[in-house]
C-alpha cells in the first residue's frame, strides 16, 4: 500500500480525491483539511506521497511543500490545482513539488497520475513546459520577475524536450526527434523538476549569482 497524505480544505473535493485513490486499493489515504493537521499527520508517519492544495485556511500550501521537502526528502510531492496554471504549479515546483493534479480530473486519471509519480514519472503539462521554455528564451526579464525561475542550468537537450511537450508531441515523438530512447524521457523530466527547485541556501545563492551574472 502506498501511503498518501491528502491536504485539501474543500470537503467535496477532498472526498472525491480520496475516493478516486481509495477505489484502486493501491493507496492508503490520510486526509487533512489544514496545515496544522497536515503537520501532525507528517510527524506521526512519513507518507510516500503528499498531495496538497495551495490555498488553505491556516496558511499556504507552499510552506507545507517546503517543510516536507526538507524533513522528508523521500516523499514525492504533488500540488492539487484547479486550472493547472503555471502560477501555482511553478511556485510549487520551485519549492520541491514534482507534479500537479487537476482537481476535476477523472478518477482513473487521478490514480494513474499518482501511480506514475511513485514510479518516478513526473507529469508535466504542455502549458507548464511552455512557461519554462519561454523563460529560457527571455532570461534577463524573467530573472527580474518576482516569479523568477532559474532555467540557466537546463541543458539544450532538456530544453528541446520541453519544447516538444509544449507543442503537443508525445514522448515517443520527442524521443524519435532527439534520438533518445522513449524510456529515458521521464527521467529527463524529473531532472528538469529538480533543476528548477530552489530549496537550499546554497542553491539560492547559486541562483542569485546566476541572475547577477545574467544582469551583468
Amino acid at each position: 500500500m502506498i501511503q498518501v497524505l491528502l491536504v485539501e480544505d474543500d470537503a467535496p473535493t477532498r472526498w472525491r480525491l480520496q475516493d478516486a485513490l481509495g477505489a484502486t486499493g493501491e493507496f492508503a489515504v490520510t486526509a487533512a483539511a489544514t496545515i496544522v493537521e497536515a503537520r501532525t499527520r507528517l510527524s506521526e508517519a512519513t507518507p510516500r506521497v503528499l498531495l496538497t492544495d495551495m490555498q488553505l485556511p491556516d496558511g499556504h500550501g507552499l510552506d507545507l511543500i517546503r517543510e516536507t521537502r526538507q524533513r522528508h526528502p523521500e516523499t514525492e510531492i504533488m500540488v492539487i490545482s484547479i486550472l493547472g496554471d503555471e502560477e501555482s504549479v511553478i511556485a510549487a515546483i520551485r519549492q520541491g513539488a514534482t507534479g500537479y493534479l487537476l482537481k476535476d480530473a477523472f478518477p482513473t486519471d487521478i490514480a494513474a497520475t499518482v501511480r506514475d509519480l511513485v514510479a518516478g514519472h513526473s507529469p508535466i503539462s504542455a502549458s507548464i513546459a511552455r512557461f519554462i521554455v519561454r523563460r529560457t528564451q527571455a532570461q534577463p526579464a524573467a530573472a527580474l520577475a518576482p516569479q523568477g525561475l532559474n532555467t540557466a542550468r537546463l541543458t539544450p537537450r532538456e530544453i528541446d524536450i520541453l519544447w516538444g511537450i509544449a507543442k503537443g508531441f508525445s514522448y515517443a515523438d520527442i524521443a524519435g526527434h532527439l534520438g533518445l530512447s522513449r524510456q529515458t524521457v521521464p527521467g529527463h523530466i524529473k531532472n528538469i523538476y529538480r533543476k528548477l527547485e530552489v530549496n537550499t541556501r546554497g542553491e539560492a545563492v547559486f541562483e542569485a549569482l546566476q541572475q547577477g551574472l545574467i544582469r551583468l
Binding site: T13, L83, D104, A126, A166, G168
Partner: protein, 639 residues
C-alpha cells in the same frame, strides 16, 4: 595568442631606424639628381635658329672701336644716354630674286635700335615685351627695299642697357625674310606666347584658389598659393615702357614680385604640411616690401641697389628653404606628393641657378631666361594638385554624407523596430498581467465552486450536472490558455489543447492519434492574437465533441501539417474520426445538433479567415481547417 597579436600591432610612433632614414634620403637625392639631369638635357636642346649661313659673327664695337665676336657681352649696366654701337657689314649677293630681307636679333639685353646704312628701322624699346629682360624676346625687322642695296650694306646696332643686367647681344642674322622668320616665330612661341598662356592659366587658378580660400578661411594654404600666383600673373601682364623714371620704378616694383612670390611659396608649404608657421615667416615678406616701397618712392638707381642687395638672396633663401622642407617632409612621410613637390622645386632651383650663372656670365649660354617659366609651371602644377585635392575632398564629403544618411536611416529603422518591439513587449506584459489576475480570480472563485459541483454531482450520481461543470472548467482553462502569449506559434496552443482533449476522450474510451506530419508542424503567425486562438481551439473542440457525441468513433485522429499554397506555406489542421458520419444518420436530434455545431464552426473559421471543409461519409467524418496566410484582424477580440 595575445603576444602574437601585440607583435602584429603596427607601431606608428616608433622612430625610423637611422639606416633606413639614410636610405630614404639617398633615394630622394638620387631622384633630384635625375631631375637635374633632365633639366640639363632641356637646356642643351638646340635653340630655334636660322641656317648659320645668314649669321653675322663679327662687329666693330664703338666705342672703343675694336672688333668683337658675336654673341658679345658688354660690361655696361647702364647705357641709356650714350649707348655703344655695333657696326656690322653684310653682303646682298647680286642676282637674287626680289624678295624681302630681314634682320633677326634672337636675343639681346635690354634694348636695341637697328639702322641699315644709317637709317633706323627698329627701336625695341617701343615694344614693351622686348623690354622685359626675363622674357627672352627676339626681334625681327624687314629691311625696306629702298634701303637695301646689292652688294655691301652696313648694319648699325645700338645697345641700351639698364640694370641690373649687363649688356648682351647675340649673333645677328640678316637674310631673306622667309628663311629667318620660322626661327623667329618659334622663339616667339616659346619665349613670349607660352609664358602668356601659362600666366593666363595661373590667373584662372589663382581666382579659383582665391575663391576656395574666401569660402574656407580655415584653409589658408589656398590663400597663400593664390596670392603667390596672383603676384606672378601681375608680373606677367603689367608691362611698362622703360626710359621715364616713374615707369622704371614700376618695373622695379614688378621685379620685387619674385621675392614676394617665393615668400608666399614658403608660407604655402608650411601651411599645407600642417606645420606651425614660425614668427620669421613674416620677415620673409620684408625684402619684397622694401623693394616695392623703394620702387614707388625712390629713383631707379636706388631700386636697383636695393633689389640687388635683397631680391636674389631672398628668392634663393626661400627656394632652398622650400626644398629642405619638402625633403624633410618626404623623409618623414614617404609620400608621393612630397616626391612630386620636391622634383618641382628642384626644377625651379635649377633654372634659378642657371639664371644667376647666366647673368654673371659664368655659364656660356645665350641668356635665355627660363626661371620665370619654370616657376609658373611649378605653381600651376601645385595649383592643379591642390584643386584636385579639393575636389577629392568634396567627393569624400559627398560619400561621407551618403554614408551618414545610410547610418541615420539604419539607426532610425533600428529605433523604430525597438520602439515597436517595446510596444509589443509592453502589450504582451500587460496581457500576461491581466491573464494572471484573471486566473487568480477564477482560481479563487468560480473554479473552486465548479470543482465542488463536479465532486458533489459524482457523489449524488447527478452525472449531467457534473459533466456541465466539467465542461465549464474546461472552457475556463481554454480561455486562460488562449490568453497566453505564444509568440505566434499555434503549436503551443495545440499542445495544451491536446492534453485537455486526451483527458476528455479517455473518459469516453476513445483513442486519440496525434500526428504532426511536417517537422515544424504549423508556420509561425506573428499576427496571431488570443482571439484567433480561442476561435480555432473552440472550433476544434466542437469537431471533437461532435465526434464523441454522435459518431460512435473508436479513434479520433488529429493531423497537423504545413502545405504549399500558391502564395507560400499554409497551416492545415484536420480532425478525423472512424465513426458513422452524420450524413448517413437518418432522423433523430443528432443532425440538428450537428448542424448547429457546423454553423458555429463555419462562423469561427470565417472570423479567422480560415477555410473549413467537412466531409462526412459512412467511413467517418473529416473536418479540415486550412489556416490563412495571414490571420484577419478581429473586430471583437475573443468574441
Amino acid at each position: 595568442m595575445s603576444a602574437a597579436a601585440a607583435e602584429s600591432e603596427p607601431m606608428p610612433a616608433a622612430p625610423v631606424a637611422p639606416s633606413r632614414l639614410a636610405l630614404r634620403l639617398l633615394f630622394y637625392l638620387a631622384l633630384q639628381a635625375l631631375v637635374v639631369l633632365g633639366c640639363l638635357g632641356l637646356v642643351a636642346l638646340p635653340r630655334p635658329e636660322p641656317p648659320p649661313r645668314w649669321q653675322l659673327t663679327e662687329a666693330r664695337l664703338e666705342p672703343p672701336g675694336v672688333t668683337v665676336g658675336l654673341p658679345h657681352r658688354h660690361d655696361a649696366s647702364f647705357t641709356m644716354a650714350d649707348p655703344p654701337r655695333y657696326v656690322l657689314a653684310f653682303e646682298r649677293p647680286p642676282g637674287l630674286p626680289d624678295e624681302p630681307w630681314s634682320v633677326l636679333l634672337p636675343r639681346f639685353t635690354n634694348g636695341v635700335t637697328v639702322a641699315v646704312d644709317g637709317v633706323e628701322i627698329l627701336d625695341s624699346r617701343r615694344n614693351p615685351a622686348a623690354n622685359r629682360p626675363d622674357r627672352s624676346s627676339p626681334e625681327i625687322v624687314v629691311i625696306p627695299a629702298s634701303l637695301l642695296r646689292e652688294g655691301r650694306n652696313e648694319l648699325t646696332v645700338r645697345l641700351f642697357v639698364w640694370g641690373p643686367l649687363t649688356g648682351f647681344l647675340d649673333g645677328i642674322y640678316v637674310g631673306p625674310d622667309a628663311v629667318l622668320r620660322p626661327a623667329y616665330d618659334q622663339r616667339v612661341l616659346l619665349f613670349l606666347t607660352l609664358p602668356v598662356i601659362l600666366a593666363a592659366w595661373q590667373g584662372i587658378l589663382a581666382v579659383i584658389l582665391g575663391m576656395i580660400w574666401l569660402m574656407r578661411r580655415h584653409e589658408p594654404e589656398y590663400g597663400a598659393l593664390a596670392a603667390s600666383m596672383a603676384i606672378g600673373v601681375m608680373q606677367a601682364f603689367i608691362v611698362a615702357p622703360s626710359g621715364q623714371s616713374f615707369y622704371a620704378g614700376l618695373n622695379a616694383v614688378l621685379i620685387a614680385s619674385a621675392p614676394l612670390q617665393s615668400a608666399f611659396g614658403v608660407l604655402f608649404l608650411l601651411l599645407v604640411l600642417g606645420l606651425k608657421a614660425p614668427r620669421f615667416t613674416t620677415l620673409l615678406f620684408l625684402p619684397g616690401l622694401i623693394i616695392t616701397v623703394t620702387g614707388l618712392f625712390g629713383g631707379p638707381g636706388a631700386v636697383r641697389a636695393v633689389y640687388l642687395a635683397l631680391g636674389p638672396p631672398t628668392v634663393a633663401f626661400c627656394l632652398v628653404l622650400i626644398a629642405v622642407l619638402i625633403a624633410l617632409a618626404y623623409l618623414q612621410r614617404r609620400d608621393a606628393i612630397s616626391l612630386v613637390r620636391g622634383s618641382a622645386i628642384t626644377v625651379v632651383l635649377f633654372f634659378c641657378v642657371h639664371y644667376i650663372l647666366s647673368i654673371l656670365d659664368i655659364a656660356p649660354d645665350h641668356r635665355l631666361f627660363l626661371a620665370r617659366l619654370s616657376c609658373s609651371a611649378m605653381l600651376i602644377a601645385i595649383g592643379i594638385g591642390l584643386t584636385w585635392r579639393f575636389v577629392r575632398a568634396l567627393n569624400e564629403v559627398d560619400s561621407f554624407a551618403g554614408r551618414m544618411v545610410t547610418l541615420v536611416r539604419e539607426a532610425e529603422d533600428k529605433l523604430r523596430a525597438t520602439l515597436s518591439w517595446d510596444e509589443e513587449r509592453a502589450r504582451a506584459m500587460a496581457l500576461a498581467a491581466e491573464r494572471t489576475r484573471l486566473m487568480r480570480d477564477l482560481h479563487d472563485g468560480l473554479g473552486g465552486q465548479l470543482v465542488s459541483i463536479v465532486a458533489l454531482s459524482e457523489r449524488q450520481q447527478a452525472a449531467p450536472i457534473g459533466e456541465a461543470a466539467r465542461a465549464a472548467l474546461k472552457d475556463l482553462r481554454l480561455v486562460i490558455d488562449a490568453m497566453d502569449d505564444i509568440g505566434g506559434d499555434l503549436m503551443l496552443a495545440l499542445g495544451a489543447w491536446r492534453e485537455r482533449i486526451a483527458a476528455q476522450l479517455r473518459a469516453h474510451h476513445i483513442e486519440i492519434a496525434w500526428r504532426v506530419l511536417t517537422p515544424q508542424g504549423l508556420p509561425l503567425h506573428p499576427e496571431l492574437r488570443p482571439g484567433h486562438v480561442i476561435q480555432i481551439l473552440r472550433l476544434l473542440d466542437e469537431a471533437v465533441t461532435n465526434a464523441v457525441k454522435h459518431s460512435g468513433a473508436r479513434t479520433i485522429t488529429v493531423e497537423i501539417e504545413t502545405v504549399a499554397a500558391a502564395d507560400g506555406h499554409r497551416g492545415r489542421i484536420s480532425v478525423r474520426d472512424d465513426g458513422r458520419g452524420f450524413d448517413a444518420q437518418a432522423g433523430g436530434p443528432a443532425p440538428l445538433l450537428a448542424g448547429r455545431g457546423l454553423a458555429n464552426m463555419r462562423r469561427r473559421a470565417e472570423r479567422c479567415g480560415a477555410q473549413l471543409a467537412i466531409v462526412s461519409g459512412p467511413e467517418g467524418t473529416r473536418v479540415t481547417l486550412d489556416l490563412p496566410g495571414r490571420f484577419a484582424d478581429l473586430e471583437a477580440p475573443g468574441g
